[in-house]
Each structure stands twice: as structure tokens, then as C-alpha cells.
């Protein structure tokens, strides 16, 4: 026991545990490096002009691309953003400027809770809400699912961004007799724009890679989608469906999609974080 309390041992133990803690951080970095390396080394072979411009080909024929999935993903994410960004920004402004009392506390709390909801449960929700009543899989229903996932992220990041704007700017505008809504939208919000855009980008980055909620909403398709209310292909779905297929050609396409998706998500994340130095977290 005395040995454990001796200065020598305490110093040794200190150094040892500090190294362990550093190793923990290094392990995280190494894992990221390993995953990204594999995605790049396996995925780049699939990338060529056809990959971005052609439709998938039937089994047995080499070549083909995932153009329909790229367009489908863009459509779905765009629709989801159109639904959730305006509502989320307004709710975030409410929280930042008028957010006192029970309503605000509840909105904050349940936004955070909603952030932690399994995306598969939200997919089942969109299926129950849109797909069952309309009777068919659709890009609409997928957009509803992704919008629900985006909403709390947009709300909380907007709140943080608007809160950072000094109140005196707004008060100055109000003192000049400008109505509150103009003071908010034309004075406060433009100052917070970078933060709000960051939040929206992070939300887009989060949902662009979501596949679980698309499985039974967008459903996937081998062809160009016939419109927003018909089954639609999406990149994350292609990764899943082709990765578990037994055909090497399809698996190759899946790796290509994974590379494109990771590149897209990392680019969105880095842009968002570097463009806005404040601490914004999607957690």
C-alpha cells in the first residue's frame, strides 16, 4: 500500500495513464483514417463519367452508374430542407429572443430529445403517416422523414447563432421605431446568418447519409423516378442494397457511392465548421 502512495509510483502512474488517455484519442483518429482509407481505395475504381451520368445496369452487364440515385438524393434532401429550415429557423429565433418560460424550456428539451431519436423509428413514422394513406412509396414521404430529423438540428443551431448577436443592435433598431418583425428579420438575423447557414449545412450533412428512414419511404429504384410521388433512388439506399448483393459489380458501385457520400458529408461538415468558428454541435 505504501508503495502505491510513493511519489515514484504516483509519477509513473500519472505518466502511464496520460499515455493511455492520449492513446484513446489517437485510436479515434486511427479508426477514422482506416475507414476513410478503405472507402477511398475501394471506391475510387468505381468513379468515372458513367458513374455520374448513367443508370444502373442489370446484373451481369458491367458498367452503368447511379445518376438516378444522385438526383434522387438531391431531390429528397432539397425537399426536406424546404420543409424544415424555415420552421426550424423561426423556432430557433423564438427560443433565442423570446425563449423564456415553460414553452421554450419544453421546445429546447424535446428538440434535444428528437435529435437522439433513432432514424429508423422516424422512417417508420413517415411510412405510417404518408406511405400508408397514399398507398405508394414516394420521394415526398422520404422528405418528410428527413425533415423531422433535420428540424431539431436547425432549431438548436439557429438558437445558438441568434443568441450570439448582441441585443443592443436589435434594441437600437427598435428604438428607431422599426417594428419588431423587421428588426428581427432585417437586423438580427443577417448578423447571425453565418451561424444559421452552418446549422442548416450540418443538418443537410446529417440527413444526406441517412438510409434507414429511406428504406420504406423512398424505397429505391433502378430507373429515373417518375415524379415526386413515385419510388425514388437515393445514394445511401444504393450502398445498402448493392453492398448486400452477391454481385461484385454492384458491390463495386456501392463502394463508389460510399466514397461520394463520405466526400460530400465531410465537405459539408468542414465548410460549416470552418466558415463559422463558434462552437456549434449537432449532438
Amino acid at each position: 500500500m505504501d508503495f502505491l502512495k510513493s511519489p515514484g509510483f504516483r509519477k509513473f502512474w500519472n505518466a502511464f495513464m496520460i499515455i493511455i488517455a492520449a492513446l484513446c484519442a489517437i485510436v479515434c483518429g486511427v479508426v477514422l483514417a482506416v475507414v476513410v482509407t478503405f472507402v477511398i481505395s475501394k471506391g475510387y475504381k468505381a468513379l468515372n463519367l458513367d458513374f455520374f451520368t448513367k443508370l444502373p445496369l442489370p446484373v451481369g452487364m458491367t458498367g452503368g452508374g447511379v445518376a438516378n440515385a444522385i438526383v434522387g438524393s438531391l431531390e429528397i434532401v432539397l425537399m426536406a430542407s424546404v420543409i424544415s429550415v424555415p420552421v426550424g429557423v423561426l423556432a430557433g429565433i423564438y427560443l433565442a429572443l423570446f425563449g423564456r418560460g415553460h414553452l421554450a424550456a419544453n421546445v429546447r428539451f424535446f428538440s434535444d430529445v428528437l435529435t437522439g431519436m433513432p432514424s429508423i423509428a422516424i422512417g417508420v413514422f413517415a411510412y405510417s403517416l404518408v406511405v400508408i394513406p397514399t398507398g405508394h412509396f414516394s420521394a415526398h414521404s422520404a422528405a418528410v422523414a428527413l425533415a423531422v430529423i433535420m428540424l431539431p438540428i436547425v432549431v438548436r443551431t439557429t438558437e445558438e447563432a441568434v443568441r450570439l448577436v448582441p441585443g443592443v443592435i436589435r434594441e437600437g433598431a427598435l428604438a428607431l421605431g422599426i417594428p419588431a418583425w423587421k428588426a428581427t428579420l432585417l437586423v438580427t438575423v443577417p448578423v447571425a446568418r453565418a451561424g444559421i447557414v452552418t446549422g442548416a449545412l450540418l443538418a443537410v450533412a446529417r440527413v444526406a447519409g441517412e438510409s434507414a428512414p429511406l428504406l420504406f419511404t423512398a424505397f429505391g429504384s433502378q430507373y429515373w423516378s417518375k415524379g415526386l410521388s413515385s419510388p425514388t433512388a437515393a445514394l445511401p439506399l444504393v450502398i445498402f442494397q448493392y453492398a448486400i448483393s452477391p454481385y461484385p459489380d454492384w458491390q463495386q458501385l456501392a463502394w463508389g457511392c460510399a466514397l461520394v457520400l463520405v466526400a460530400l458529408v465531410f465537405a459539408l461538415n468542414l465548410t460549416a465548421r470552418l466558415a463559422f468558428s463558434g462552437r456549434v454541435s449537432a449532438n
Binding site: R10, F98, V124, F125, F240
Partner: protein
Amino acid sequence: MSQESAEVISATAGASARAARTRISPAGDRIFMFLLYASAWFVLAIVAALFLVLLQRSWPAIQTIGLGVFTQLWDPGGGHFGVLTFIYGTIVTSAIALLIAGPVGIGAALFLAELAPKRLATPVAMLIELLAAVPSVVYGIWGLFVLVPVIRMYIGPALQHTFGFLPLFQGPIYGVGMLAGGLILSIMVVPTVAAISRDVFEAVPNDQREGMLALGSTKWEMMTKAVLPYARSGVVGALVLGLGRALGEAMAVVMVIGNKPQIVASLFQPAYTMASVPANEFSEATGKVYISALIEVGLLLFIVSLLVNISARLLVWNASGRGRR
């Protein structure tokens, strides 16, 4: 005089009328406030709608199966829709994930918050956030083509060689199975635990550290005896949030766990989790009760996640003061 005073009076009246017009908020303000409140209520309405819609659509299954859902096995062909095996798979994979990601995440957070110079901590923290940003289906494909063969050829045999006397590590090694699911989840949970623990550590007042160091402690003693106890509830919250992420992850798990509804001790055996069932079976499900039962699995998942997240948020909020702002 009377004319003058009349003018003054009318001027004052005009001014006060203008003042009154701005004091009584114009229509624009009323619409704006209405939109703000509507948006705020919308967030709450979504949470309520999630619960109500899932409940409504799973009602046929709830009526047919009743409490049997917690005792029966899963056999859609035979009309049995029990989630017992899924609960088992979820618990085992989440436990593996937390056993690995908990210590690693907290260690990384301690390093970032207490030890690393800011120049190093900022980029490393960003790397960890990128780890969280990788889409789960990408972890799935990586797990399927890289992790599963590695488990089959190296990790599995090594574990069996060393700990083969435990039932956990007996039997044939397929590669896909609960161990693969748990390992892939641990990678996905680490960033959550690390990022939130770091926030919580950084909220610990410096007096705590200075007092401990002034008593002659080493840095490590300072961390374990002054920082960790102070941040305990927040760290527990971070672990619970990590648990929430592990419980609800569908795609990565469905690709590596083997999707077989069974309860076995060996971690090398395939299994099934709550989240991966709808992901795997929804598109093939036929029949009202079957689909409804899958929605009920979603409902159960929603309820469990709600409880997990509520408890975690309460712990983290109290530790980092996020809710009080």
C-alpha cells in the same frame, strides 16, 4: 391663442396617435409572433405526432398480440410476433459498444479537455466530429467487407484461443454476429461519448483543478479526484446518450449482425436487434398484422429511446447548464 393651442393640441394628438400606432404592434408583428409561436409548437407537435401515429398504426398488432409481444418468438410465417430475441440482441450489442466506447471516449475527452494543448485539441476534436459524421451505411459496408472478415480470421480465433472457456466465445465463427455488431456500434458511439464528455469536463470550474494541484496531486490524480467526480452526472449522461445511439442504430448493424432471431450466449452467433428488424423486413412484409407488428417494433424503439434520451438530457443539462440559458 385658441388657434395656437388648438394647433399644439392637434400636433400632440397626431404625435401620440403615431406613438400609439407603433405601441400597438402592427399587423406585421402579430403575424411574425404567430409564426414564431407556431414553429415552436410545431416542434412539440412533431414529438407528439411521432408517438400517436406509431401507436395508431401498430394498434392492429397490439390488439392481436397483446403482451405476447414480450414473450413470444419472432416467426412471421407462423403468426408469432414477439420481440424478445431482438431485445436480447440489442442489449448484448449495446453492452459491447459501451464497454469499448465508454472508456475510450472518456479517455479521449480527458486528453482533449485536460491534457492536450489547444493547438492539438482543436483538430483532434474535429477529427472525432468527422467520425460522428460518417453515414451509418458507410460503417455498414466497411463492417461487412472489412471488419467481418477480420473477425472471422483474426479477432474471433484469437478471442476463442484466449477466452474459449467462456460460453461467450464458443462455437463456430461466422464473422457476422453480435461481436461484429457490437464492434461497429462502438466505433459509432465513441464520438458521442467523447464530444459530450469533453463539453462536461470543460464546464468544470478551474478552482477544482487548482485546489487539487495545490495539494500536490499529479495531473492524473487531479483528473480522477477533482474533475471526474464533479462531472460525474454529465459523463453518465454522455454514456446514456451513447447508449441511445447504439440502441437505435439500424443500418450498420443490419449489415453485420446476420439477422437471425435467436438467443444464444456466443458472441460469434448471428442475432437481431430492435432497430435492424424494420430495416431488414419492412420491404418484404405482407399482411396487415405483420406490417403493424413491424410498426410496433418502431413504437417500442421510440418509447425506449425517449426514456433513454430524456434521462440523458436531464443529466447532461444539469452538468453543463445547457437548459438554463
